[in-house]
Amino acid sequence: MRLLDNFKDPQLCKALLERIHSELDGELRFMEVCGTHTVSIFRSGVRSLLSDKVVHLSGPGCPVCVTHDSEVAAFLDLAGRDAVITTFGDLMRVPGPDRKTLKGAQAEGARVKVVYSPFDALKIAQDNPGDKVVFLGVGFETTAPAIAATVKAAREEGVTNFSVLCFHKLVPPALEALVGDPELRVQAFLLPGHVSAIIGVEPYRFLARKHGLPAVIAGFEPVDILQALHLFVTMRKQGCVDVVNAYTRVVSDTGNPKAMSVMDEVFAPCDALWRGIGMIPNSGLAVREEFAAFDAMRVFGLTLRDVPAIKGCRCGDVLKGKLSPNKCPLFGKACTPAAPVGPCMVSTEGSCAAYYKYHV
């Protein structure tokens, strides 16, 4: 759509950049918590055009990267069972204990299929009634409604050989955990546009109210990102702190109530493990009792076991914005996108992979 191309307009970007740089007073350390923002900030060239005073930190915004070692171990345990695993492609190369991956398990004979949509996974189950088909449920609030809707459809259609291994994560509780860390030196948050399209503005209000941190919900085009940065500068200048929805063409302030209710019908909040961060209360989603027949944890009697963290990988510090990826001793040496050690280098949306690909 021509209209949307305006959000890439070079003239507009230039004008916004000039404003940011001329009005900025001191350093601006902002963190984004969305893999699509990570990639967009690098790929669009925005990062290279910003002055040194604007510091971009990439937080825990890639679902693949934050999937805990124990959860990856559970995927791999499942690969050893009599099951057909269906998954988003991004999880295939994530290393678990002993650097084992789903891709490796597949090469050794496990039945693993990459799908684009959880609904495709359901179709595989319907077409193969003799197989137990499991979908690996990772992702934030953007993805969870799609998976919840698929579980509901499975029940409505009486499918009995489909289940989900549910390791969804929720963004606001992770932000709460992050800002509670006294070592974190973030002054503003760029909030994820598509997560916000589901949950709306309210769940982020605590950032401003409780912690005095400004935050902007932004889209993914260069103009969207620069607009958000300019809003941070303006708020600072005016001495106000707020949570602003700047992505109004997609995000309504109240979010998507239908998606929220589907999600809430199938899933309930639970404590969840985040890689490098640890347990965050109520930051995950578990399948509700009523849908137990579609919960792979229950169907296969799986449990999360303690596994040692990957040796030498500093993903945890990278995800918390404490360490720049290229400061990890393994970065670009033992750890590259072709031979990744940690998940932040595996996922194309991971901070380490983005750094490797775009950093000059």
């Binding site: 305006n6 969305c34 890639c62 959880p118 992702g139 399209a197 607009q227 063409r249």
Partner: protein, 75 residues
């Protein structure tokens, strides 16, 4: 994997719609979409589901603010 993109609705068929972007067509589920759709609308698509309808008026309003605030004429 979080990628979600705007796509144009070309056909609506109960619980699904056919959408396209740059000549690539696909079917998306409408289970979690709160709005009703019309052909020609744009929806944000993620993992085979339409998440929300793109609000043209809001896009125009945002751009207008830029034009006024930054003194720029967009085509």
């Amino acid at each position: 994997m979080c990628l979600a993109v705007p796509m144009e609705v070309v056909k609506i068929d109960g619980k699904t719609a056919e959408v396209q972007i740059a000549g690539t067509y696909q079917n998306v589920r409408l289970d979690v979409l709160p709005e009703t759709l019309e052909v020609g609308d744009f929806v944000i698509v993620h993992a085979g589901f339409a998440l929300t309808r793109l609000d043209r008026e809001e896009a125009i309003a945002t751009l207008k603010l830029f034009e006024e605030g930054l003194n720029i004429a967009l085509t």
